[in-house]
Point group: C2
Chain length 359, copies 2
DNA sequence: ATGAAAGCGCTAACAG
DNA sequence: CTGTTAGCGCTTTCAT
């Protein structure tokens, strides 16, 4: 890089202005593609910028004009609690690149959420005015407060999940309540009266929705809710297996909805085996999956597809439009899960998981 | 968030200072964990910061003190030319998280390099003073100029590759020259005199090193270099197959070093088949891989392991130390490839690729 | 079409 | 231990 007239390493708009013989404001106008500069002056300024490799100080710009530096990505819960899979993060990443890459944006990842459980604040990138927009990449806790502040901040954002406590929240989500209702109603429609549910995401919004949907299906069929037929598990195979075993210990249970969100066929099979039951013979199974036309368990009577990636894709696109002023917030994307009861062929793949499972 | 005395949404150190009855500088000292503040005042300031959810403006800090916001990651060549695999990028991210995550850092990823071939400048994050440190995640072109400016900038950085034109460059790399020398020398040691090399990364430093290493092995054995025995290919299976076929069309060739870096067993087999030759029967093969104890082709006489991940891991660790002032730059990590001529069992896995291959 | 002045929020340098 | 002043590089506001 050429050094400027004052011998510094970095050129500023003042240096450019002095060299050309105009004011800093004129250089600023050129930098921001604004009018009010004669074509000849503009050309000379651009040529000098090119020659010396001028680049604006992104922090100074953010300080003065509130045009922050990055498209932010943050996780609303520590990795130990909701282990968003690397594959899903990468998918998000790729999608953000497709949407924002050609516009010369930077992506900012808040690494803190990975690490700290205490004093957990996933909005740092916004408070510190680093993020000009933000993707909240995961389910929120039922009592989440950070999202309220993000919502009020005015920064375009989209959460990959809804929140009962903030219905106006900008979100691109899947309707888990309807998923749970559909799953249980499907079983009831097939003549089952004792339908168990293996839930997931206890303490998080998707967990609340699961329970509500399940109860609604029972209500609609006039069946009383029995809390013993619902169990919430985490993301480890042993936990999934234990949950299944405990539910199936009740011989009156003839139907199980795997709404754990773990896509863990091994855990399901293990639990059934421990209870001395065989999937598809002794009881019917609906298993939830984030992948279309993939089978968690081939012997399942049906799969419920949760189009999370599809919702996220739409959310990211609308986030870009919001950021560019082509639409207003908040974003309201809500996809309905799809129940698929076609028999699964031998070749149907195991889903790529959205969350990591500990074996 | 509580609003401050002047009714603004964001609190500044001035607002905190006024509320407590001290100067802004005192608040700044507390913010930066510096001495010179009485314990009682410090406690009151911290309490108020906590109460109102104060967060510093990261851009203002960067402007004044040159403490930039993010640990940067950037790609020195467009994805079309060097398709760094998503798996490797993710590995890098995970490693950066392990190293920096607990310190509340942000990761900054330059999306621009993905998109534009023209006006390609992978150093934007540094010029714009967004990056406080930078990982250059991929091989550099032989005529790379950007790295020179990065090197001069004073920002701690590490490139995952060396560069002849800038030997003092901060790098965490694998010695491809020695890899090529080892591979060819191994073949010569087994009695071969006509050793072909399928190269990769033409126009990039790793390509230059491959050629130099190959020639050195021949020199050391007193064998004349024949340019017809070397072919450079890209990252598509058809290209790999064509390169192999063209080399093997010469019946005097009895040894092939696959230094393509594609880990593409299918392409190698296809090319051999097209030439009417069988690996391990009609000619011997040494295949290069980025994975330890994985087999690109089971029939290969040997595999050369390029410990790129291992070098990168060490580079990232030293980058963290450099950034924290626990050591000086530049970083000089150079790992030597390891030739492994043990027979590969049936169960040995195909390597996870470091670069994407187009089928 | 262009410029002068002010100030965004923070910290370095210096003063007490 | 604490405060004052100035200024980082840019853009806003207002003037010409």
């Amino acid at each position: 890089m050429l050094s400027n007239s004052s011998g510094k390493a970095h050129w500023t708009i003042y240096d450019i202005a002095r060299e050309i013989g105009v004011s800093a404001k004129t250089v600023s106008r050129v930098l921001n593609h604004k009018g009010g500069v004669g074509p000849e002056v503009r050309a000379r300024i651009l040529a000098l910028m090119e020659e010396v490799g001028y680049q604006p100080h992104i922090g100074a710009r953010s300080l003065r004009s509130h045009q922050n530096a990055c498209i932010g990505v943050t996780l609303p819960s520590p990795a130990e609690e909701v282990p968003v899979s690397q594959g899903f993060l990468l998918w998000i990443f790729t999608y953000l690149y497709d949407t924002f890459g050609s516009q010369g944006e930077f992506l900012g990842f808040d690494l803190n959420p990975f690490a700290t459980v205490e004093g957990y604040d996933y909005g740092r990138g916004i408070w510190q005015q680093l993020f000009k927009a933000c993707l909240i990449a995961g389910p929120m806790r039922s009592d989440d407060q950070v999202i309220v502040r993000i919502h009020k901040s005015g920064v375009p954002y989209v959460a990959l999940g809804r929140l009962d406590s903030l219905p106006e929240c900008s979100s691109a989500a899947v309707d888990y309540e309807e998923g749970a209702r559909l799953s249980a109603a499907f079983m009831i429609g097939r003549g089952h009266r004792r339908v168990a549910m293996l839930g997931g995401f206890a303490g998080f919004q998707p967990g609340v929705e699961r329970l509500r949907g399940h109860r609604r299906a029972l209500d609609e069929a006039g069946i009383a809710y029995d809390p013993n037929l619902v169990r919430f598990v985490g993301f480890d195979t042993a936990g999934v297996a234990a949950g299944v075993r405990e539910l199936l210990a009740d011989p009156t249970i003839t139907a199980l909805v795997d709404a754990s969100g773990t896509e863990n066929g091994a855990g399901l099979n293990e639990g059934a085996q421990q209870a001395g039951r065989v999937i598809g013979r002794d009881f019917e199974l609906v298993s939830w999956t984030y992948a279309h036309n993939a089978a968690v368990v081939r012997e399942a009577t049906a799969h419920l597809w949760l189009p999370v990636r599809e919702a996220a894709a739409q959310g990211i696109e609308q986030l870009a439009e919001w950021l560019q002023g082509r639409r207003e917030g908040p974003i309201k994307v809500l996809h309905t899960p799809v129940l698929d009861d076609r028999a699964k062929e031998h070749e149907v793949p195991t889903p790529r998981r959205l969350f990591d499972v500990k074996d």
